[in-house]
């Protein structure tokens, strides 16, 4: 499917579904791009788990302040009206249900809304969970950003997750390269599909039963080129600074 959305285009589409005034936490990785596409007529307040509300974009290279970083340990800025707080307060906001939307990546999602995004099997490396379980359990809505299938073509939307869970029944909607799928009490419902894709196409690549929403629409985004990646990996940058 040649017109599949790239991750910036998915991010653009996710951003359309964030209402004005929302408090939003973006997971490390792909979801961070959502911040770049908030419509100009909306004000969205981004929360970073390491104690920031009102996080702004990456600073220009000559204005980097390593005392102001995001959950991915990369430099950010603070908007007027932003503020700092400590980790217990930060996760009170998350666990206490004050974050309207969090956007996370995912390995698998179950039709019951279960999420698996923190650990892969058969890896020798140590497990790492960060704030993912707190976000999954605490945010009012959990949006996922991911490809519809894995790189090996395996379905990621499943009747039940096979991998160890991050959270139970927590997922609201899944934004992918070919479709937007809502998690409902009746299972997965396709809300939007890209041009050239139909339900049969999706169903053939999905482990769970899909229904098409009565008012489904074509998933359209502007054409956005992926940025050239020249970032120093965060660990290396941090180690340098330390």
């Amino acid at each position: 499917m040649k017109n599949r959305l790239n991750r910036c285009e998915i991010a653009w589409r996710v951003a359309r579904d964030i209402p004005n005034g929302s408090y939003v936490n973006l997971g490390v990785g792909m979801p961070l791009a959502v911040a770049d596409y908030v419509p100009e007529d909306r004000e969205v307040i981004f929360h970073s788990e390491n104690g920031v509300l009102g996080m702004g974009p990456k600073p220009p290279d000559d204005q980097i302040d390593w005392d102001l970083t995001n959950a991915g340990k990369m430099p950010v800025t603070l908007l007027p009206g932003g503020c700092f707080f400590h980790h217990a307060d930060s996760f009170s906001m998350i666990r206490g249900g004050h974050i309207d939307i969090c956007v996370l990546g995912a390995y698998e999602v179950g039709e019951n809304g279960d999420l698996a995004n923190w650990i892969l099997p058969d890896k020798k490396q140590a497990p790492a969970v960060g704030g993912a379980m707190d976000l999954a359990a605490g945010a009012k809505k959990v949006f996922l950003m991911m490809d519809f299938c894995s790189k090996d073509g395996e379905p990621k939307l499943l009747p039940r997750c096979k991998l160890p869970l991050t959270g139970v029944g927590c997922v609201t909607s899944v934004y992918t390269d070919v479709a937007i799928v809502d998690v409902t009490s009746g299972g997965f419902v396709v809300r939007e599909m890209i041009e050239g894709v139909d339900l049969d196409y999706l169903q053939a690549r999905c482990g769970a039963k899909l229904r098409l929403a009565d008012n489904w629409q074509v998933l359209k985004t502007p054409k956005i080129d992926l940025p050239e990646v020249k970032q120093v990996p965060p660990g290396v940058a941090a180690a340098k600074r330390a």
Partner: protein, 221 residues
């Protein structure tokens, strides 16, 4: 007169024994008390239990302490970042015990220790492998797990300014875990970029009141 200022880093970390449980502030390198950790490594203690968010990067601070074989067990949420090679080698060699805890649960468990709360219930991790061995309980139709306080023998934190009463303020997002770890230990040790006169910190903006802090050492900016 109250004077919590330690003249040197060695004085600041004096008396930390083998086997101590140490709460360490910082989020990755951001706000990490590297100099205190390096000074602690000089003492070459054994069998430490470290409670912190990450597992050290590069060769300094926590990574150094681990490389020297001082750490028996690490309790953290995210040990795996680019650059955490010391941790990875030790872990894969089976030379370091790891207890993985969700980030917000670490923060709340340490805060609970500081606040005199022996245990609390949380929804975080319900249904996941990290809820195994936890007591499950329903409140208002939802399932929660019980988590117990994590008490430290010592806490090592990093702040921007400190005074002789131990009051601390931080810089931007380097605040992170530092004020929380400061609450949860019997003895809290802070490295600060600058020691200021008593009264120089805005009483409305002190983040860690000195009641939580036992020693303050200036390490320059």
């Amino acid at each position: 007169m109250i004077n919590k200022i330690a003249p040197t880093l060695a004085d600041a970390v004096a008396g930390i024994p083998d086997g101590a449980t140490i709460l360490v502030g910082g989020f990755g390198a951001s706000g990490s008390p590297h100099d205190l950790l390096d000074a602690l490594a000089e003492r070459n203690p054994k069998d430490l239990v470290i409670v912190t968010n990450n597992a050290g990067v590069g060769e300094r601070g926590l990574a150094r302490l681990m490389k020297l074989g001082c750490v028996r067990k690490l309790m953290c949420s995210f040990p795996r970042v680019a650059g955490s090679t010391v941790f990875e080698e030790l872990y894969e060699a089976g030379k370091l015990e790891l207890e993985l805890i969700p980030q917000g649960t670490i923060a709340e468990r340490v805060r609970a220790a500081g606040a005199g709360i022996p245990a609390f219930y949380t929804r975080t991790a319900v249904g996941t492998p990290l809820a195994e061995k936890r007591e499950h309980r329903e409140f208002n139709g939802k399932t929660y797990i019980m988590e117990e306080a994590i008490h430290g023998d010592f806490a090592l934190v990093r702040a921007k300014y400190g005074d002789r009463w131990g009051n601390l303020t931080y810089s931007k997002s380097t605040r992170n875990f530092n004020p929380v770890m400061a609450m949860g230990a019997k003895c809290t040790i802070a490295q600060v970029a600058k020691v200021v006169d008593l009264g120089a910190l805005d009483p409305e903006a002190v983040v860690t009141p000195g009641i939580y802090v036992d020693r303050v050492v200036q390490v320059g900016v």
